[in-house]
């Protein structure tokens, strides 16, 4: 399971300066994704999972956004130091992104063929005919029937699942080595979600690309990811290989999230375990552990000092002062 490093992010801090003050969206996040690896980033809305990846792609509008610190090495090149022109070459060609809502991510007044063809013309210098032929292949590859005719249609003529397939086809146009998927199945029905997950798995195995899958759904990534990062309030709180996250979660937040999930494969045996309170206000600079106000295992130290992410077992890091199994300080 060892992969050569592809993307290495260190101490990323992203903030937004808005009328109400400063939003502390990402607060010193470090992680790596290997070549061909599937990494899942899991967390609730506002935990900074999307902003982290948007920062790496340099898609954060500045201002109001600000990347206060950090380094994002993509194949040894710091994405925060290269020019916008160079970045445009990385985006689309070496790393591509798909989004939750394919309707807003697609341009409604251009045909699907035109939109897929754009990357091919810009990045690979193809002419119109070549771009069209390649786009037809791509649509066929993502399982859209009658691709040649579908190329001439507009996004509104596609169903939700079809649009997401078209988005994936577009992202694959230049055979990127990293695909960032930001909740790509959240807006879809479960049967369509299963289709898209199967498709992404197949393409990953065929093309050997790395995937960073951002989601709030711990169920979706269980069968898909190799490693999982759990985020809360702009911090990574737990990082482990997928089986450890589900079988042996060590951060109280991960544990609570798993206990809050009902299971389709089990009879009901108890009430759901709910996490009291709500995620913290990001307008307040973080102080202490961000999960402390909602944590069942909180100790005095949690309220004053934020734990850093540390290795506590092989390939298993958590940011917590408490040992969840004993409830005592570590």
């Amino acid at each position: 399971m060892e992969h050569n490093p592809l993307l290495e992010v260190t101490d990323l801090r992203t903030r937004f300066h808005i009328a109400e003050g400063t939003v502390y969206a990402v607060n010193g996040v470090s992680f790596r994704a290997g070549e061909g690896e599937t990494l899942a980033v899991v967390g609730e809305s506002g935990c900074g999972k999307s902003v982290t990846m948007m920062s790496v792609m340099r898609l954060i509008p500045i201002p109001p956004g600000e990347i206060a610190s950090g380094q994002a090495l993509f194949r040894q090149r710091d994405l925060f130091k290269i020019t916008e022109n160079e970045m445009e070459h990385v985006r689309g060609k070496e790393m591509a992104m798909i989004f939750q809502d394919p309707m807003t991510a697609l341009n409604p007044v251009l045909t699907i063929g035109r939109q897929i063809g754009e990357a091919l013309r810009v990045h690979l210098g193809m002419n119109d005919q070549q771009a069209q032929d390649r786009a037809t292949d791509l649509l066929a590859q993502v399982g859209i029937p009658d691709p040649a005719r579908r190329l001439t249609e507009y996004p509104h003529q596609f169903s939700g699942g079809m649009r997401q397939r078209a988005m994936i086809a577009m992202s694959l146009a230049c055979a990127p080595s990293l695909l960032i998927a930001d909740e790509p199945t959240t807006a879809l029905d479960v049967t369509i979600q299963a289709q898209i997950i199967e498709l992404v798995k197949r393409l990953r195995d065929e093309l050997g690309m790395a995937i960073i899958w951002i989601t709030h759904d711990l169920g979706v990534v269980a069968g898909l990811a190799e490693r999982v990062n759990v985020m809360y309030s702009g911090f990574i709180v737990e990082e482990a290989v997928v089986d450890d996250i589900y079988e042996n979660p060590l951060h109280p937040y991960t544990l609570a999230l798993l206990e809050a999930l009902p299971r389709v494969d089990r009879r009901r045996d108890r009430r759901l375990h709910s996490i009291p309170g709500a995620p913290p206000n990001l307008l307040v600079a973080p102080h202490g552990c961000p999960f402390a106000p909602r944590c069942e295992r909180v100790i005095e130290r949690c309220k004053v000092e934020n734990p850093t992410l540390e290795l506590v077992a092989p390939h298993h890091k958590i940011a917590c002062w408490v040992d969840v199994t004993t409830g005592k300080p570590r």
Binding site: E44, S45, S159, G161, M162, D189, V190, T191, I192, Q193, A194, Q195, E198, H216, D217, L218, G219, V220, A222, G223, V242, D243, Y246, A256, L257, L258, A260, L261, P262, R263, V264, D265, R267, R268, R271, L272, H273, S274, I275, P276, A278, P279, R294
Partner: protein, 336 residues
């Protein structure tokens, strides 16, 4: 659950809600000046079921299957095309005006979108107090405010927030406001239309537990419409699976999840992700091809036949009959 809540026993006393061959079509028209009807969206096309007092019936299916339309039509929010709905013996949209007011008080709804379903210009006090005002349940403003106070405490909101506006609340808190509003008229039956799907996982559990507590406290009856099959298994007593305007299977919760019969129900359940990597990897998934067809021209015979892995010749010709395949386990399929 006793055998008394079977779909064919139409007139049992403990059935609070009785739905019989309910049909809701929306006309499709053409022409600007002289409009004429050229077809109909057959959103709900003949569904029958009962809900016993104190029971939670789940209704699941993909988007566009008609589950939301069914819920709204049952409360008289849309005119009924044909068939009937009875709530505590009163026929929705047919009963005299006074009886309809009774239904509107006794049957309430909780909506999916906690942002769109609350008037942004009204305070919490106005929103929760509205049903009390409409149904003249309290004598004066002071009594009404006290009742709103009480309702806020009941759903876990601080009464100090009574004069705040919806935008000052989080999604989970807004859903609590929606629940308090539904409870204000002391209902017996609540249609919960995807009440948790817009909420974060950690908040979903809070709202589901609240709905269960309220059910225990007031003996409420729920129709729980959702696409999250895991949550439906957790909260519901019986579950109905809808596909393109019809119910294809109806059974008690564990019976349905452990022995699904209809190929659509089987595929739907196999597509639900399980938060257990080893189990999820080893599972046999049935991946349905294609999308749900248009409800304007639903397929002939069994509506699921174009996507069905088990389809045989008869499936495209004859609509399968609704039969009891096992005790209290109903299904409409030629093959299973």
């Amino acid at each position: 659950m006793s055998a008394t809540i079977e779909t064919n026993h139409q007139n049992l006393k403990d059935n609070l809600v009785q739905v019989n061959q309910l049909v809701k079509h929306f006309p499709v028209t053409q022409g600007l000046i002289i409009e004429r009807q050229i077809g109909a969206v057959k959103a709900v096309d003949g569904i029958s079921f009962n809900i016993a007092k104190g029971e939670t019936l789940g209704m699941v299916g993909e988007s566009g299957c008609g589950k939301t339309t069914a819920g709204r039509t049952m409360l008289g929010l849309y005119p009924i095309t044909s068939g009937s709905v009875r709530i505590s013996g009163i026929e929705v949209n047919k009963a005299p005006k006074q009886d309809m007011m009774t239904i509107r008080r006794k049957a309430q709804m909780i909506f999916q979108d906690p942002y769109g379903s609350l008037n942004p210009r009204w305070t919490v006090s106005g929103i929760i107090g509205e049903p009390i005002r409409v149904h003249k349940l309290m004598k004066n403003t002071k009594e009404r405010d006290e009742r709103v106070h009480e309702l806020m405490l009941l759903v876990g909101l601080s009464p100090r927030l009574i004069n705040r506006f919806p935008h000052e609340f989080s999604g989970g808190q807004r859903q609590r406001i929606g629940i308090a509003r539904a409870l204000a008229s002391e209902p017996e039956f609540i249609v919960c239309d995807e009440p948790i799907s817009a909420l974060d996982v950690s908040i979903q559990a809070q709202v589901v537990n609240l709905l269960e507590d309220l059910q225990d406290k007031f003996g409420l009856t729920y129709l729980f419409i959702a696409h999250d099959l895991s949550m439906v298994r957790h909260i519901c007593d019986r579950v109905a699976v809808m596909y393109l305007g019809v119910i294809v299977e109806l059974a008690e919760r564990d019976e349905l999840y452990e022995n699904p019969l209809h190929p659509y129900a089987v595929a739907l359940l196999s597509a639900v992700p399980i938060p257990d990597p080893k189990k999820d990897r080893s599972r046999q998934r049935i991946i349905l091809t294609g999308d749900v067809p248009s409800p304007i021209n639903p397929p002939s015979g069994c509506r699921f036949h174009p996507r069905c892995p088990l389809a045989i010749k008869i499936c495209s010709e004859v609509q399968p009959e609704w039969r009891e395949a096992a005790p209290s386990h109903w299904v409409a399929c030629h093959v299973v």
